[in-house]
Each structure stands twice: as C-alpha cells, then as structure tokens.
C-alpha cells in the first residue's frame, strides 16, 4: 500500500512509540489478569455470595456485552461466588445460562452483544401454550425513514414474559401465549422513542413506525478517537447530528448545512458559489489570527481542510476566488453521524488543533445481511438569485443632472447615475445606439441564470459477520447562477470491515474524489469580478447591452471610465479559472483483542490531494498591461498523514467502579509542495500557456510539519451514576524552537446522574449535571518562522545574483526564535434534564475559554522594515451560554410535532496583545475604507473606520477650504462576528408525511458594505436623491467652530457623495437576521407490496427560502466572501440564492 509512508513508520519506531505502548501490553498476560481479579473486584456481599446484578455487571464488562431487563427483575437474587467465578471462565451465553439457572429467568440473544433477560415460568408457558393455542402476532418495525429496525424489542404491556425481538429485516413474530386480545404492544429500540400500539386482532400484520429519539437517556455518541460512549457519561456538551439530516435539502459543502443546527456552532456559507468553502466557528474564535476552524476528523483520523491558494482576501481583485476547502469533499450520503465536540475536554485527546473544537464524522459501514443492499439518493435543486437591491430609479445615467449626449460621454458615465430625471426618451448609450432613458430594474435577473445542482449517490452494502463492505459512488453537478461557471465532484468511498478470528479485526476505508471547478467567480474588488458591473451599471442601462463584452479583435469593450471595472460579460465569456482536485483518503486500522477487556489498535491514515489550478486573465483585458492578459497557476500536492497506536483496558474496581484506561501515541506529518506560477502579457495573443508570457515568476513553497504526541485517559464510572475522566497529552511540534517545542496539557471532567442518585419529583425523568476543565496546547501551523531567511530572486539582474528577505504570505515578517506553545484553557459546566415523561428536555452549558500565549501575526509599523511580527503574547477569552430545548408539543397516534430550539451567546474579548500594542489590524476593505481589528478590551474582530467629525453639540464639523465634513479619528464601529446565534427546528409527522422546517438567526454583528459605498458614489443609492433638484444644503460648524452653511450644487453632487466613502459609519449595517433556512416535505411511498424495494421516500426540499428579518439595505446580511478570520465585509460576492428541488431516496 503505497500510501503508507515508510519513513513515517520508521519515524514512529524511532520515536519509541511502539515500545512505549507495547511494553505494558505484552506484560499483561492472562495469568496476571486472573490474579488481579481476585484482589480488587466488586466485593462479595456475604461470605461466598454476590448479587446477581453485580455478577451480570461483571460479565458485561468482561465480555463487552449488554443486558436489558425489567426494573426490579434481578432484585434480591444472590449467586454463590464459585458460580460467578466459574461463569467468568465461560463464553458469554454459557455464563449467562449458568448465572440465571437458579432463578426463573431466561435470556434471549438480541444481537452479538445484547441480551434481554426475562421471567421464565416453564410450567405456565408450556401449559398455556399447549392449552390455549394462543394467537401468533406478526409484524414489521420500521424507522421514520422506512428502514427496518432490527433488534427492536416487542413486548406485551403488563406481561413482560411475552417478548420478542425483530430480526434483520425488522420482522417479528410474537406468541401471545396466555394473553388475551386486545393487547397493548410496547415497541422499543435504542435510539427510538418507545411506542405503544393496541392490537385487536391477530390476523392483521402489525406495522409500527418508530420515531427517532432525541433523548439523551441511553444515547451512544462518538467521542474523541472514535470511541463510542454513553452520552450520560460525558462531562461535556456533545451534539450528534445524523447524516440523514444532510442528504435531503443538500448543500454542496456539507459543513454549510450545520447552520442553525447546533448551539454554539456558527457555520457560515460564503457568497462564493458552488464548490466554495465554509467557515465554521465553535464557541467563538480561539486564536487572534491563527486558524479558527475546527479540526475535521473522519472515523477517528484527521483530514485536511485547507483551501488551496489560501482564502480570498478582503480587498483583492483579479482572480480573488475561493477554491474550496477539505470538508467540502466529504459526501453527506457516506456520513452516519456527525458529532461536534465543542469544548476542550472533549477535544483534548486530539491535541493542538482541537483547541477550536472537533467535528467528528463517522462514515457508514457495511452490515451483515443476505445479498447486497442498495441505497439510492437523488436530489435536484434549482437556484435563483435573490435580489436585494433597491436603487433609485428617478434620475438616470449621467452626471451633474445631465444625461449623456454622446457615446464617449455614455462610456465615461457608464457607472454614474447622476443624470437627469428619467423621461423615457431615447438617448445615446455606451454602445452608440439609442435607448430609452428608463429604469432598468432587472439587470440582476437578466445577467444571472437559474443555477442547478444535481446529486446522485448509489451505495451498496453487504457481507457477513466476518467480512462486510459498503461502497458508494456519488456525483454532484452544480451549475452556478453565474454564466459559464460550474462545479462537479465525483466521490467513491469504500469501507471494509473484517473480523479475522476471535482477536483481530481490521477496518479499511478508501475514498477517491475528483473535483472540477470551472470559472469560479471572483469577489472583492472590481477587476475581473463579474458581479461588480452587474450591480454598479448605471440605472438606465440594460446589462444585456454589454453582451458579449468583447469586440471583433477579442478586446474587452469598456463600459465605463475605468478599465479596472471589468465588463461582466467579458469576464464570464473570456476569463478562465479552472481547477481540478484529485484527492485520496485512505485509512486502515487493526484491532487486536489481547484479552476480552484489553485491546490495542493501530491506525494509519493519509489524506492526500493533488491540486491543479490555471487562471487566465485573457488577451484583451483592458486593465492588464497592453491588454495582453495575465496568468496564474498553482500546482500543489498536500498530504496529512497520521499514525496512531492506542491501547485500551477496562475493568471493574471493587465491583462498583468501572475503570477504563487508554494510552496511545500519534505521529502527524503534513506536507505541502506547491509551485505557483504567475506571469503577465501573453506574447502570442490568445495562446494561454505560461511558456507564452513576457514575464514569469515561479514561487516554490514546500512546507513540512510534524507533531508527535503521547496521550492517555482514565475514565471512572461509579454505578453509572458518577463518572470521572482524566486525560493528558504531550505534543512535540516541529515548527517551534527545540528549547520550547513541547507542552503537556491535562483535562478532567465529571458527570453526575442526579436522577439515578436521588429521588426526584416524578416530573423529572432524567437529570444530569456535569463539569469539566481542560487545556489544549498548540503551535503555529507554519514552518520556517523561527529565523529570518533570504531568498534568491530568480534570474538576478544584469548577470548578477539578487537576494531578498524571504517573505511570509507576501509580506516581511519579523520571525521569532523564542516561540513557545500557546494554551487554550476551557472550563464548562452544564445541566441536562428530561421532563414530563421525556416530552420536554433541556441542556444548558456555560463555558469559559481562555487562550494565552497566543501566537499572533501582528501588523506593525512598516517603518520598522517589516509588515508583521510574530509574537507569543496574545490573550483572548470567550465565554458563553448554550441552551438546547427539545420537546414534543403534540403526540398522538398519527401526528407528532417535535421541536428543537438552540441558542448560544458567546462573548469574546481580546485581553492582551504585545507590549505597547493595543490593536491588531487583520484586514482592510476594498479602498481602505474600513478595517477589521482585534483591539484590547473589544470583542474578537471589530470593524473600525471613520465618521464625519462632530462637535460636542452634535453639529457636523466641515473643513471650510474643501467643503467636506472633517474625518474623525479611527474608531470602533461594531462587531464583525455575531455573538448570538440560534436555530429553531420543527418536525411534523402525519402518517406517511413529514415536514421539517428550520429557522435560524444570528444577531449582534455589523457588516461594512463596499457595494453601498460604490452605490452612493455612483448615485444608485436612494439616499443620493437628496439635493438632486436644487442642490444639497449643508450646515454645521467649520474647523474653527464658526457656523457653516454650504449648498452643494447639482453639478457637484457626485463629488460630494463620492467623498462620503471616507465616513465608514455611513455604510455599516446591522447584520442580524432570521432566515427560513430549510423546508423538507417528505412522503414515505408505500412500497410493502413491491418485493424489491424496502423503502422509498420522495421529498420537496428547499433552502434559504426567505429572510424573515434583516436590517441591511441592498444586500443579504450573509455576504461574506472569505473563510478567513476577517469577517464583517460585504463586497460584490455572487448573489445569494434560493433553492428548491426534489429528493428521492430508495433502499433495495
């Protein structure tokens, strides 16, 4: 297997991990185990006896099996010690038989690891059966998606002896024996609500559809390292979402679908079109300017989530595109569950990169079954642009109140709507033809097209107990609303599980992605951004008159005064911007059960992708030198490789305390080998090869990063009432200086099941409190930043070599040889409860997260010779509350209504930057009109800018020489990141119909709108109507405090409004919103009669239907176009879309 890197394995060996873990393992012989058992297990109550319950608990741990039995069934039953000892040397079933033999109890095997225990009354059962010829009930148990629920328990209410279990296909048979009809059947299964159904006649087929349970009672969730744990044992908040939540109303990038679903998770989709990135922030930003997105882990092993070529910059132009992230390459159909580990305790075992939280994805596996099962999922959606612009349509194209009178004037005024009152008369437009001087309100609809996304996945699964598989193929075709832009991805995923004999099991996963993007749209500045012209063209010009955007010689037709505002049609028709990503994710693990309760597991995984990007700014582009075009290319090979070895041991101490010990080591290697080629001026026109450029620069970037770690965890469980866990991890980072390159960090947590410990009022079915404290250490992800280095300028000058200071991200960086690890410390407390027979539930968490010694790239005065310095001093805090409320307001035979409401408030605060620094500039808007800062004492990521200066009386101060308002000092204008997020999900089930409605909202942030700056400068904004007829009256005071009045004549109105760009606050909007995010209406097609189909459903799906609340003018509050830390700017991204479609799911 060539993905396994030889060096890596050698590296692991030399790192002594194998001896480190293997030594205690090999020492653990069965003999030693036996001796241990006698000294410190659950004590025998009386001489030579112990309770049956304790004996079964011992058996449970020993054999790793579970039991279900009626409450009180085992009470008062005692077993002789020698029987227990004997049973523990036997296989599970034999042991069980032996233990139960003295009592009127029987068991039945539910599945490989589950048994149910019930009363056995030999005489009555046989007697009654024979005597009464009782009716036999037959039926089928299915889940809400129509899939069978194997292992569901069906019992007769009031007669717990009458019980059976559904088989693999969900079918069951139940002998009614001594019961008489009608009977009430109780159907239950883990993960589903218990359901009661009255059966009047044994002749009918009993069909029961179980609703999925959202209760925390007996939920098993996937936690760190892929370990499944009982949710009640967890000392921290963890939220699990089913993969099926993402497969109907789909997002091309699955992470975008997290929006509104989980308290404390702020998922933002970007205005960058299909195939774009997501930005997910859990409990606020952890690092001042490091990566703040969570670590994505698939089946216990991390994957890469980088964006090739980096995120778009806030003020960039040309080909400022979002090239997609790593999580976008995971097919939602392959996802069984997504667990979000929000806190440090949850994530501590993942090490440094988990400080931002971890998103754990567990993929679907094959299941033992007859034949091959086939799942098919097909979704088609159509996307239409949502129009927010509400421009003024009273005064048309022109300047100074005058409409263009010649073609050249029409070109100069192509983006000026400062003309005369619209009169419908013909005038000369930029194409030299006559057009009516009338409003053109449909430019957005006319330029963009209806987008579409077509997704098909087919998955096969099958096998037996020893070897099973799941193989899926998926194809996503997405046509952007931007003409000539599309994205498609194909994903093949294979999962193999094999049990080799009794002790060894292996699992292997292989995934291959091919992702192709064509002409991703640029955003930000005007150059090469097709969206810019569509929005800014004068309001009497039909955008279609710019089509096709080039003349007979292929030269861009200029529609306005500046070459830098590209012709949108030229961009979509001539620019080329294509990338291909070939990605392979491979994982293999071997688990060896040394003893029943001790195993070692070795995992190795590699996420590798090869990326090839070519961007062509074509010949004829008027803003390029000589209109000769530009070239940019990126070739990148990235790999993220992890090797992990863990040992896990569990036992019982003193009979009542469960103990689980985990120890392990991990070695991570990250490699990126990138070559960027940029050049200008194609020598032979229209020949787009980098061999055909006047100037070419090739920049290699070869990053090589390693982290080695050891970790351990101890979990204690006292009677399933009190849980305690401890963990610790030590990391060594290659990117830090050898003196300071490692850090140890511990975590501790506890959970207490109040409802099991004390008698609570009957209304409270379940109550739990939890608390945890954890540290996570981290380092800079970038290598080579300890010492300044020097690079050669390729080719030199005049035959002489030329050397330059090596730059970091295009800027001079003061490197820092003293960097040490940063630490993020979190504590959290929480309480969760189920009330009124599980009809109402809540889960409340308070957390407090502090980041210290944050490694911060700080913008410093350029007069220091450097743009940035790397400092190790940042302090940042995030504290907040997360609330999840669940309930079932209506529950009747045919109709249920489930609600889930989550809300999270996060208060972030920048506590400290470097000595003498009070603020850190993170990003600059187009035009340098607004900035994103991290300022001491302020929340993370505030928007800064200027306003018109006012005196203490509130009067505007004018500069009498220029007639313009004086500019204030730079000041804080609001948060770029919303502190308050919420989601409200409703599910209605009526017979075969179900309706799922998700509403979500974010509140408390501000957005600086670059588009509104331009719309004001160009006379499109409604506020520019003031002064159009008789000039604009201004009054205030002058710089000397004297009264000042001035009238701006109509002829100068444009320049007056143009100057308002200096007053940032005029373009700051409240970014709060509430959106109707998702609606899914599903119908379970009755397929019982079709032998071949197990289940099928057809759904109407829609996303981003309506904005129920917003405060922004002319744009969607969700208009960010970069997944970098700089949030809070809007600048001509692709219009947000509304999508509708159909989804068909079928199982065969």
């Amino acid at each position: 297997m060539n993905i396994l890197n030889q060096n890596l394995i050698l590296g692991l060996l030399s790192c002594a991990l194998l001896p480190g873990i293997a030594a205690p393992v090999s020492a653990q012989t069965p003999a030693m185990y036996a001796s241990m058992r006698q000294t410190d297990n659950i004590p025998y109550h009386k001489a030579g006896t112990m309770s049956l319950k304790d004996a079964l608990i011992r058996l449970k741990k020993l054999q790793n099996i579970r039991f279900a039995y009626r409450e009180g069934l085992l009470d008062g039953k005692m077993v002789p010690a020698d029987v227990v000892d004997k049973a523990e040397t036997m296989e599970a079933e034999a042991a069980l038989k032996l233990l139960l033999s003295d009592f009127a109890l029987a068991y039945s095997r539910v599945n490989k690891t589950q048994y149910s225990i019930y009363t056995r009354d030999v005489n009555t059962t046989i007697l009654n059966y024979n005597a009464l010829f009782a009716d036999k009930l037959k039926g089928k148990i299915t889940g809400p998606d129509g899939a069978p629920v194997p292992g569901a328990t069906i019992s007769v209410k009031g007669n717990s002896a009458l019980v059976t279990v559904a088989n693999d296909k969900g079918d069951f048979e139940l002998n009614l024996k001594d019961a008489t009809l009608p009977v009430v059947l109780v159907v239950s299964s883990i993960g589903f609500d218990k359901q009661e159904i009255t059966v009047n006649s044994a002749a009918d087929l009993v069909s029961v559809t179980l609703a999925e349970s959202n209760k925390a009672l007996s939920e098993v969730v996937v936690t760190a390292l892929g370990i499944k744990k009982d949710k009640k044992a967890l000392a921290y908040a963890v939220t699990e979402v089913k993969g099926s939540d993402f497969t109907q109303a789909r997002e091309v990038n699955v992470a975008n679908a997290l929006t509104g679903k989980i308290a404390g998770v702020n998922a933002t989709s970007l205005a960058s079109g299909p195939g774009g990135s997501s930005r997910v922030i859990i409990r606020g930003n952890t690092s001042l300017n490091g990566d703040n997105q969570p670590l994505y882990v698939v089946n216990g092993m991390p994957i890469d989530n980088t964006t090739p070529g980096g995120s778009p910059t806030t003020g960039g132009g040309g080909q400022n595109v979002d090239r997609g992230d790593g999580i976008g390459g995971i097919n939602p159909d392959d996802i069984e569950t997504i667990s979000v580990l929000k806190g440090g305790t949850a994530a501590a075992l993942y090490g440094s990169r988990a400080a931002n939280g971890v998103i754990l994805i567990t993929t679907k596996k094959g299941r033992a079954r007859k034949g091959v099962g086939v799942d098919y999922n097909s979704t088609f959606t159509a996307e239409t642009p949502v129009v927010f612009t509400d421009w003024q349509y009273e005064y048309g194209q022109g300047d100074g109140g005058v409409k263009p009178s010649s073609q050249s004037q029409a070109v100069t005024w192509g983006r000026r709507s400062w003309g005369a009152k619209m009169d419908g008369q013909n005038y000369i437009a930029f194409d030299g033809k006559e057009h009516p001087y009338s409003p053109q309100k449909n430019n957005i609809q006319n330029f963009y097209r209806t987008g579409s996304t077509y997704t098909n996945t087919v998955a096969f699964n099958g096998g037996n107990e020893a070897l099973n598989f799941r193989f899926s193929l998926s194809n996503t075709n997405s046509k952007s609303i931007v003409p000539n832009s599309k994205f498609d991805k194909k994903i093949a995923n294979l999962n193999l599980n094999a049990v080799l004999g009794k002790k060894i099991s292996i699992e292997a996963i292989a995934q291959y992605n091919v992702e192709n993007a064509t002409n991703r749209s640029s955003s930000g500045d005007a150059t090469g951004n097709p969206n810019w012209g569509v929005y800014m063209i004068a309001n009497t010009v039909d955008i279609r008159s710019l089509d096709p955007g080039y003349d007979a010689n292929g030269r861009e037709i200029q529609w306005n005064e500046t070459a830098y505002a590209s012709n949108p049609y030229f961009v979509v028709n001539r620019f080329k911007n294509n990338d291909t990503k070939n990605r392979f994710i491979g994982q293999a693990s071997v688990k060896y059960d040394i003893l029943k309760n001790l195993y070692v597991k070795g995992n190795i995984s590699r996420d590798f992708f090869n990326y090839d990007y070519v961007g062509i700014i074509p010949t004829g582009t008027v803003y390029t030198t000589g209109a000769a075009g530009e070239y940019s290319g990126i070739r990148n090979a990235v790999s993220e490789t992890n090797s992990m070895l863990t040992a896990n041991y569990n036992t019982k101490l003193a009979g009542t305390i469960g103990l689980n010990v985990l120890a392990g080591g991990n070695s991570r290697r990250y490699k990126s080998n990138q070559t960027a080629i940029t050049g200008t001026q194609f020598i032979i026109p229209f020949f787009y090869s980098y061999t055909n450029l006047s100037t070419v620069t090739t920049t290699p970037t070869r990053n090589n990063v390693a982290t080695n770690s050891i970790f351990g965890a101890v979990d204690l469980d006292y009677k399933s009432v009190l849980f305690l866990n401890f963990s610790g991890r030590e990391d060594w980072f290659s990117t830090l200086s050898p003196q300071n390159n490692h850090i140890f960090y511990p975590a501790v947590g506890s959970s207490f099941i109040l409802s099991d410990a004390v008698q609570l009022p009957k209304a409270i079915s379940f109550a739990k409190v939890r608390a945890s404290w954890a540290q996570v250490g981290g380092a800079t992800p970038d290598p080579y930043i300890l010492n300044q280095s020097y690079s050669m300028v390729q080719g030199g000058h005049e035959g002489q070599p030329v050397q330059t200071i090596t730059q970091s991200n295009g800027a001079n960086l003061v490197t820092n040889s003293n960097l040490k690890p940063l630490t993020s410390t979190t504590y959290e407390v929480g309480v969760e409860a189920q009330l009124l027979n599980n009809r109402i539930g809540f889960d409340i968490t308070y957390y407090n997260k502090h980041t210290t010694n944050d490694i911060v790239t700080t913008a410093i005065s350029t007069t220091s010779g450097y743009n940035n310095a790397l400092l190790n001093v940042g302090k940042l805090s995030n504290k907040g509350i997360e609330v999840l409320l669940t309930g079932t307001p209506v529950k009747s035979k045919n109709f249920t209504w489930n609600v889930s409401y989550n809300v999270a408030y996060n208060q972030s605060k920048v506590e400290q930057l470097a000595a003498g620094l009070t603020t850190l500039q993170m990003a600059t808007s187009v035009g340098s009109w607004a900035f994103i800062h991290n300022s001491v004492g302020s929340p993370y990521g505030v928007i800064k800018g200027y306003s018109a200066a006012k005196n203490e009386k509130g009067e505007t101060i004018y500069n009498s020489a220029t007639g313009y308002e004086q500019k204030s000092a730079l000041k804080n204008l609001g948060n770029g990141v919303p502190p308050l997020t919420m989601g409200f999900s409703n599910t209605f089930n009526y017979k075969r119909l179900s309706l799922d409605v998700l509403v979500d909202g974010k509140f408390g942030n501000k957005v600086f709108s670059v588009m509104n700056v331009y719309a004001t400068r160009f006379g499109l904004h409604k506020k520019t109507l003031k002064g159009r007829e008789n000039g604009l009256e201004l009054s205030g005071v002058d710089q000397n405090g004297n009264a000042y009045t001035n009238t701006i004549p109509v002829s100068n109105l444009r320049l007056y409004y143009d100057n308002t760009k200096n007053y940032t606050d005029q373009f700051i909007y409240d970014g709060s919103f509430v959106k109707l995010r998702q609606v899914v209406l599903s119908y379970q097609i009755p397929v019982q009669k079709l032998k071949i189909v197990q289940s099928a459903s057809l759904s109407f799906v829609a996303r981003n239907l309506l904005i129920l609340y917003k405060n922004t003018d002319n744009f969607d509050p969700e208009s960010s176009y970069t997944n970098s830390n700089a949030q809070g700017f809007e600048a001509f991204g692709i219009p947000r879309t509304r999508s509708f479609g159909l989804n068909l799911m079928a199982k065969f």
């Binding site: 020492a27 070459a563 620069t697 000058h797 005065s861 220091s864 500039q921 035009g927 020489a961």
Partner: protein
C-alpha cells in the same frame, strides 16, 4: 492492583523515553529548503539599489508629483491626486510607507548589518545609498522614522519614533561626510553587484558629495547658513560635473525586476496599447510642460513627446500639445495630446539617471548666483543644459540630440538678469532637465517656487485649490504606531497635503 501499577510504571518509563526522542529530526525539518539562512551583502545591495528606484514611481512620481507639477495630466478622477488634488481611491500617498520602508530601507539596513566593519567601502557605499533612500522619503512626508527605522528584526522596535526632519537632514549630511571620507580605493568593493559604478570608489565619492550638494541646497530656504556650509563642503569634496561620472542604473527587458520601472509603470498603466486613446488611466503629458518646451524651442521636446498620427508616433514640434490639468471628462481631442515617447522613455531598456551632471551643474549655478560658489554661474548653467540634452542619448538613438541643436539652445538661453530672474531660469531648467525624476522636481519647486505654476481649482479637491506640498501618512500608522505619529503631527502640523515640511518654510 499490582498489575495496574506495573502498567502505569511502564507507561511512565515509556513516556520518559519519548520525551527524549520525540522531536528527533524536527530541527532539520524546520529549515526552509528554498531559502538560505544568511544574507550575502553584495546580492542584497543589488536588491536595495533596484528597489530604491522601483517604488511607486507611477503613483508618487507620475501621478502625485508629476501631476501637481503639471508635467503629467489625466482626465480621470481616481488617478487625479496630483492632477486635480483629488483623493478618491487607492493608496497612492502612502506607498513609501507601505512598500518603501519594508523594501529598500530594510534591505540597505540588512546589508549594513551583514557587513564587517573592515569592509570599509561596502559599508560607506551602503551608508551613502541609505541617505539617498531616506532623503527621498523625508522630502515627501516631512518627519519620518529615521534613526529607529528598519530595526524590526534587529532590536524588535515595532513602533519607531519619528525624527524631526531637521535632525534627519543633519544626520544625513554627516553620514555623507563620514562615508565619503572613509572610501578607500585600495580596498574591496561590491564589484559587479554595484550596478551604478561597478565598485568604482572614486565615482562613489563624487556621488556622495553631489548628494551632499543636493541636500545642502535643499536647506536654502530654511537655513541659508547651513546650506552654504554644506554646499561649499560638497563642492570642495568633488562633485559630478562630467558625463563620465553620472550615476546611472541600467535595465534590460526581462522580468519585472529587470525592466526600467518607469517605462514599465507608464506602459502598464496608460500607454501599452499605443493608439493615443486607449490610455487606461487617462494619462497624457500636461499642457504646462509641453508649452514651456515649445515656447523655448527646446529640442528635448522631440525626444520626450510624441503624438499618434496615422498609427505612428510623430515627434514633430507642431503636433505637440499637452493636455490641460483638471479635466473631468475625456476630451474629444484626447488622441491629439502628447504622450511619452515610446522610443525613449517607454523603453524597458532605458536607464534611470540617478544623479546627473546636469543637476549638479544647476546646483553649482544656483550656488554661484547665491554667492556660495566662486565658479561662473552662466557657464555652469550652460554646462547643465548640455549635460541634460546629452543624457537623452542614454535612452537610445531616438534620444540623441544633435550637438548643433544643443549649442543653439545654450546660446539662446544664457543665464542673465536679476538674482530672481536667474533663479527662475535655473528653476525652469531643473523642471525640464530632471524630467522623470518628479520627486526632485517637486522638491526644487517647493524650495524655489519655480517654475511659476497656476494651480487648478476643481470642485471636490482636498487642498482648497492649492498645489500639494507633501504626501499623507498612512492610516496604518494611526493604527499601529499612533503615539509616534501623533508626536510628528504635533511638531509638523496636521496630516494634510497642504502642510509644509521643515525645509519648505513660507
């Protein structure tokens, strides 16, 4: 219990072993395979030479200085910072802060730090070049970080204080004095890495004194006494008066590093299409400049300017018209206005004349008129004209001006009249002979007030209709170096384009 205890012990032992071996190879891994760990002074000096002359020429020289000096014009708004005193968009006024300090300033500091004190010539030449770099920045902005500049890496000074321009001048002159005296022809040099003089120490000495002359003269308005002292010291040291000694930077066509940055900037921003009308930033040569050349029958007009006629670049005098400054719309006559000559100025292989005999001779003439120099003012003035005209031959054959034309022009323009009249003639000659070095033209205009320019006064301008006297400190300084900046503003005046810097006293 024993078992678990053993387990822990083994784990602890293993962990201890790991601590010693778990970062093996990390240090080597963290070395950038595409960079070297030390600076080679010679190679870095080359970069400092290139970067000092390739920084913001289009924005600062052509648009800001060249526009306000009415040598360049544009009908557009956004590039109209000098043309109309507009500031609509862009970072034009900040470029020397954002790219000059991290570029040439930091590079020359790196060279100086990397040199051994025994490398006397390399050190002295680097000090001279540092003065060259710094004086251009202080002349644009006034007070700037000087003594604490470019120490981000060496002393971690991230918030350099601003020095008063008066102190900067004192130190720069002192540096030139010390460095010029330290030069020693018997010792090693940068050799071919020194593109300007290829290690010729004698010529560097002349360059140092010529620069001293320039800086000394700069103080003529604020402190005539000091000015006189330094001017005389410079002249005594020996300055560039012969064509053979002029400081010239040579370029070739190749990557952006190799091309003449002025030609590259003009081509990429305005003149690449070469049809007289597709000019991206709406640029042309300005009316004031072209008229002055025409009025004087200056033969330099025909090597500087062309008009596109029938698809050909025509240099004939009769066709040359400059575009008026302050236009708001593309004039119908746009195509008929003069543009920089593609055969001279727009050649990628054209040189940059860093310090010319023409400039030095003009300083000598001015010094003579002021009574600070014993030479003959008229002779040196005439020599300056000759040197300037011969300089154009460096741009290629299209730049060659016939000796007869030079002589005729010299004869027609002899330096006579009152002191004021002579200073005006000298001022006008700086204006023409230093064309393309717009920062120097702007500096000499501020100092002398010649040529007499009539500002445009277009509504919406930010200077109240006066010619800008400095550029603006960038907002980033307000954000990351606020206290230091405030000190400078308190000393110098508001951060406006109308505020006068120290040597530009009214």
């Amino acid at each position: 219990m024993k078992m678990r205890f053993n387990f822990l012990i083994y784990t602890a032992i293993a962990a201890t072993l790991l601590i010693q071996s778990c970062d093996k190879g990390f240090e080597e891994m963290n070395v950038n395979p595409d960079a070297s760990s030390s600076a080679v002074p010679e190679y870095m000096f080359s970069k400092a030479l290139l970067d000092a002359l390739n920084n913001s020429w289009f924005a600062t020289d052509a648009l800001a200085c060249g526009g306000s000096m009415q040598q360049f014009a544009t009908y557009k708004d956004v590039p109209g910072i000098g043309d109309k005193y507009y500031f609509q968009q862009g970072t034009y006024p900040y470029d020397y802060f954002t790219t000059g300090f991290p570029g040439a300033v930091n590079e020359i500091a790196t060279v100086i730090n990397a040199l051994d004190s025994s490398e006397v010539n390399e050190l002295s030449i680097s000090r001279i070049w540092r003065v060259f770099i710094m004086h251009r920045i202080t002349d644009l902005y006034g007070d700037i970080p000087y003594s604490e500049a470019a120490q981000g890496y060496t002393t971690n000074n991230f918030t350099p204080s601003y020095d008063a321009q008066k102190d900067i001048y004192a130190d720069m002159l002192n540096e030139l004095d010390e460095a010029a005296q330290a030069l020693d022809a018997s010792k090693t040099t940068f050799g071919a890495g020194d593109y300007i003089y290829e290690g010729d120490v004698t010529k560097w000495k002349k360059f140092a004194y010529s620069l001293m002359l320039r800086l000394g003269m700069r103080m003529s308005k604020i402190d005539a006494t000091s000015a006189q002292t330094w001017v005389q010291k410079a002249i005594a040291g020996g300055v560039i008066t012969d064509d053979a000694d002029i400081a010239t930077m040579k370029y070739t066509d190749g990557t952006s590093l190799n091309r003449n940055p002025r030609a590259a900037a003009l081509l990429s921003n305005d003149y690449a299409v070469a049809d007289g009308t597709s000019n991206t930033e709406g640029g042309k040569l300005a009316q004031t400049f072209i008229n002055l050349l025409k009025d004087n029958n200056d033969p330099r007009l025909n090597v500087i300017a062309i008009v596109w006629k029938d698809g050909k670049a025509d240099t004939s005098t009769a066709l040359q018209f400059g575009m008026p400054n302050g236009l708001l719309l593309k004039p119908d006559s746009f195509v008929y206005y003069s543009e920089p000559n593609p055969s001279t100025i727009l050649q990628y292989t054209a040189p940059i004349i860093v310090m010319s005999a023409a400039e030095v001779n003009l300083y000598l003439a001015e010094a003579a008129v002021r009574g600070w120099y014993s030479g003959d003012a008229a002779t040196t003035f005439s020599a300056a004209i000759g040197a300037s005209m011969r300089n154009w031959a460096e741009f290629g054959t299209a730049g060659v001006i016939a000796e007869s034309k030079i002589t005729a022009y010299q004869a027609a323009h002899t330096l006579t009249g009152t002191t004021a009249q002579q200073l005006e003639m000298i001022g006008n000659e700086y204006y023409v002979s230093m064309f393309l070095d717009e920062q120097e033209i702007h500096a000499n205009w501020r100092r002398l007030g010649y040529p007499a320019l009539t500002p445009v006064n277009i509504s919406g301008n930010i200077t109240g209709g006066t010619i800008p006297r400095r550029l603006l400190y960038p907002p980033s300084e307000e954000s990351v170096n606020a206290a230091s900046l405030q000190e400078a503003i308190d000393r110098q005046g508001a951060n406006l384009m109308t505020t006068r810097i120290w040597w530009d006293k009214e």
